[in-house]
């Protein structure tokens, strides 16, 4: 759709908004369309959606694009709705929709998609070339329909696209709302049946549903996961959500202010569904949204009687069919939310709800897949769930359980929302400039960084008052380095000890389980306790002591073997605090140091050999043995000549590469017997990485390496182990990179200015 005529001729079929008003989801749209290509024939795409992340319009837009493209791909879009109550009725509806959309596409008449047509009407509308198979399909359907075998009927209907003759094109089915398929009554469980039929159909398809449910359905259907792709669909980013508000407000002719726009995005967590519904409500009620008050008034209206209420009512109705049960559920859920306990025993809920075990499990399952709770075995976390859900629960609790006057509930809810609005925005603004400890710790992956970044006292002594450039050049000449561990798990301290919630925010106090050197054994295991202390001045010794004692005690409670405490504060620590903490090997960092550390980690990650990322990088793979190390030596020689290394240096590079290859071949016991050599040219250096798969040597990082199975008794072997010594002498920097298996040795040689 690049030419203006193509745009002019573009017809909307299912899309509810024009293509240009469909905000965000660009890459997801491209991915869905790509799924229809012949390269993906026989593959399914599971769209794993966060609740209310708005997948339907994505599929409808994809449909319209494919319809207008007029290629051999015949798009079919089918959305499960709550109107269909049984698997049989849903399957029949699918058959009808399929034929209707097939004929609409064949005849190039989009309007047919929306007509009310019987199967007989469809046979009459079928193009002559398709008449035979469509007629046959309808006749067979009539026979199967009355065979009393519901399973066969469901399968027959769902497999209708497979009956399209290859000459007619390739049907591409997009199924929307898979979660609803689970709730249908009858003898056939539609969700897994859908997956069974489509994953074995040989055609490409898309199945969109709640992320916590679709994967389970695929497992239940025993799908071959090798032929399934997955695409995760989350809420919109803040920028995309802003754009969505602007577009929808313009389309719906709802005046909005920037302040309200930003609040809406935060209040609804970037959910396209909530945002669009809300703006639609504003239009229906002819309400301008220019102030927080406008916004929260409408919000409470919506919560107590509009789209929001219907959305949550429908969810509750799905899991609790009777009013009595719904009210009981609202009661237990809201009381759990207000109990201040992160985890609640679900057994207590069951007793209060007085429902059978299977029904209760169904309720928990629904709450879990809609992410209104996190259910795990005997307990559930009720602190999750979007803010509108909690407001809905609270308002309904007060109205229906406590029977408070409606006017009071409305007034209080508006007031509460208004009071919360500035806090919501403040949290967002802080979030924008926040350095998330989880993100920081999760980036730890054996990088080498200047040790002074973990020593506030030393940093202040050297760099206090220095400019960024001065600090940068100073750090480059630092000689003391610290190798970060590899982090394997990070969680808030309160996840380990709920009392910690009283002393700091979850994101500012974390526990990271790590391994030094990225080596997974007991001796290298270490737990980092990290806190970001909010203070406008240097942290004094009293506060430092409190934090040290807090973590030390937590370590003992948790039975941690080896621990590292790391305290971070905006302005660092007083001299007395530094002395106290240094004596206890506590790492201390100011916000400035942390920012530098993040840059360094980022740089190190960027430099880590992952994918080949530019034209100055070369990768060769050679089999071990047969003097193939000479191929690597010749390669490095050619590259080094280009970089004008001196002949002696070239020889040093060649020798180092040869030694690294020999080490890889000797110690790895690599089953594939291959050596991977990567040469990266930078402005001032050449970085060579030699890797192999196989055994991780027992003493990587020490002066020499050996594999645990090496028991040679040859006299010559006593003199071996010189390889690493030579490499270290010949190269400027030598480091083992953390790898899960085998070895990866990174060697750097700098280009001297006097080279010629």
């Amino acid at each position: 759709m690049t030419s203006s005529s193509a745009i002019d001729n573009f017809r909307r079929v299912f899309g509810r908004v024009p293509r240009h008003d469909f905000i965000g989801r660009t890459s997801e749209f491209e991915r869905v369309v790509e799924q229809a290509s012949s390269a993906n024939a026989g593959r399914g795409l599971l769209l794993l959606m966060e609740p209310a992340a708005g997948v339907s319009e994505l599929l409808r837009q994809s449909y319209d694009y494919l319809f207008n493209r007029r290629s051999e791909v015949i798009p079919i879009y089918f959305a499960f709705t709550r109107h269909e109550t049984t698997a049989v009725s849903a399957a029949i509806e699918f058959l009808n929709s399929f034929l209707q959309q097939y004929i609409a596409f064949s005849r190039n008449e989009p309007a047919l998609c929306h007509s009310t047509l019987t199967l007989q009407d469809l046979v009459e509308l079928a193009p002559p070339t398709d008449l035979a198979w469509i007629d046959q399909l309808v006749q067979t359907y009539s026979r199967v329909r009355f065979s009393n075998d519901n399973k066969e009927l469901v399968r027959f209907c769902l497999s209708a696209p497979q009956r399209v003759p290859p000459r007619a094109g390739r049907p591409f089915v997009m199924l929307d709302g898979a979660q609803l398929a689970e709730d249908m009554n009858g003898s056939v469980v539609l969700g897994p049946e859908l997956l069974r039929v489509f994953s074995r159909s040989g055609s490409s398809f898309v199945l969109a549903g709640l992320r916590r449910q679709v994967l389970n359905a695929a497992r239940e259907a025993e799908c071959n996961f090798e032929s399934l792709d997955m695409l995760r669909l989350q809420q919109l980013s803040t920028e995309e959500a802003h754009l969505l508000v602007d577009h929808v407000a313009l389309r719906q002719q709802v005046p909005t202010s920037r302040e309200v726009r930003d609040l809406l995005v935060q209040q609804f967590g970037g959910s396209p569904f909530f945002i669009s519904s809300f703006l639609q409500a504003a239009r229906e009620k002819n309400t301008a949204l220019v102030s927080y008050l406008d916004c929260e008034r409408l919000y409470v209206d919506e919560l107590l009687g509009g789209h929001l209420r219907h959305y949550f009512d429908d969810l509750l109705e799905e899991m609790a069919p009777t009013l009595e049960l719904r009210l009981a559920l609202i009661r237990v859920l809201w009381e759990a939310v207000t109990s201040n306990e992160e985890l609640t025993s679900v057994e207590a809920w069951r007793k209060r709800l007085q429902v059978a075990a299977a029904d209760f499990e169904g309720i928990l399952h629904h709450l879990h897949i809609y992410e209104l709770i996190n259910w795990s075995g005997p307990s559930a976390d009720v602190t999750t769930g979007p803010q509108p859900w909690k407001d809905y629960l609270k308002a309904n609790y007060r109205l229906n359980i406590l029977s408070e006057p409606r006017a009071l509930v409305v007034a209080d809810t508006i007031s509460d929302s208004l009071k919360r609005a500035p806090r919501t925005m403040a949290r967002h603004y802080k979030e924008l400039e926040r350095i998330g400890l989880r993100e920081v710790l999760n980036q730890f992956d054996c990088q080498r960084v200047p040790d002074v970044l973990f020593d506030y006292s030393g940093f202040a002594e050297k760099y206090k008052g220095a400019s960024d450039n001065e600090i940068k050049s100073g750090l480059e000449s630092e000689t003391e380095f610290r190798k970060l561990p590899q982090t394997v798990h990070v969680a808030s301290c309160s996840s380990f000890n709920s009392e910690m919630r009283q002393v700091c925010e979850a994101e500012k106090c974390v526990v990271a389980h790590c391994f030094d050197e990225g080596t997974y054994d007991d001796t290298q295991e270490v737990v980092w306790f990290v806190a970001y202390i909010e203070a406008k001045l240097e942290v004094d010794v009293e506060l430092a002591t409190i934090w040290y004692d807090r973590f030390d005690s937590l370590g003992q409670t948790l039975g941690i073997g080896r621990q590292q405490i790391w305290l971070i504060s905006n302005e660092g620590f007083s001299s007395e605090a530094c002395a106290f903490l240094a004596a206890r090997s506590v790492a201390t960092t100011s916000k400035r140091q942390l920012e530098i550390l993040l840059n360094q980690i980022g740089d190190a990650s960027q430099n880590a050999p992952g994918h080949l990322n530019n034209a100055d990088e070369f990768l060769i793979v050679v089999p071990m043995g047969e003097e193939n190390e000479l191929l690597a030596a010749n390669t490095v020689e050619h590259i080094a000549r280009r970089l004008k290394f001196k002949p002696a240096e070239i020889n040093q590079l060649k020798t180092a590469v040869v030694e690294a290859c020999i080490n890889a071949a000797e110690h790895s016991h690599s089953p594939e017997r291959k050596i991977y050599q990567r040469f990266r040219v930078e402005s001032d250096k050449l970085v060579v990485t030699i890797s192999s798969r196989g055994i991780v040597p027992t003493n990587v990082g020490s002066g020499s390496i050996s594999s645990s199975t090496n028991n040679n008794d040859d006299v010559a072997d006593e003199r071996r182990g010189w390889g690493l010594k030579l490499i270290r002498s010949l190269m400027d920097e030598v480091e083992f990179e953390r790898v899960d298996e085998g070895t990866s040795l990174r060697m750097t040689k700098y280009i001297r200015n006097s080279a010629g």
């Binding site: 002696a648 040093q652 020798t655 040869v658 010559a716 071996r720 010189w722 390889g723 010594k725």
Partner: protein, 126 residues
């Protein structure tokens, strides 16, 4: 000039001095060939060994460890060893690994032969 059996190691004898020529790449394989040839020469009654590295461009640590083994063997046989025509980069490696503490270096084969024939002269270390 003899061609050692089954290998491409060249050698020849000048009186009781054997001159063995290292190939362009000194590694385990070629190192072991040199070792075998040196043993053969010593067994044949040679009283000194000259290993000529004129063709040697690249050495690795395994090759160097084998050279140390040859020095040991020669010592046990009461034979002297001189390395001749070693390029600067290789000398640097020999020094790093302490080889030069155990062996004399000569500028070339002639100098090595001269040093061995006139034992009073001090071998040159390059």
């Amino acid at each position: 000039m003899d061609i050692s059996s089954g290998a491409l190691i060249k050698s020849h004898c000048v009186g009781t001095i054997a001159v063995v020529y290292a190939s362009d790449y000194l590694n385990k394989l070629t190192g072991e060939k040199i070792e075998r040839e040196c043993r053969r020469q010593l067994d044949s009654g040679c009283r000194a060994l000259v290993i000529d590295f004129a063709d040697t461009q690249l050495v690795n640590s395994i090759g160097i460890s084998i050279l140390l083994g040859i020095i040991d063997i020669a010592e046990k046989n009461g034979a002297k060893v001189i390395f001749a025509d070693v390029n600067n980069q290789t000398v640097e490696l020999f020094q790093m690994l302490g080889l030069t503490r155990h062996v004399a270096l000569a500028k070339n084969e002639q100098e090595a032969l001269s040093d061995l024939t006139h034992p009073d002269a001090t071998p040159t270390i390059h």
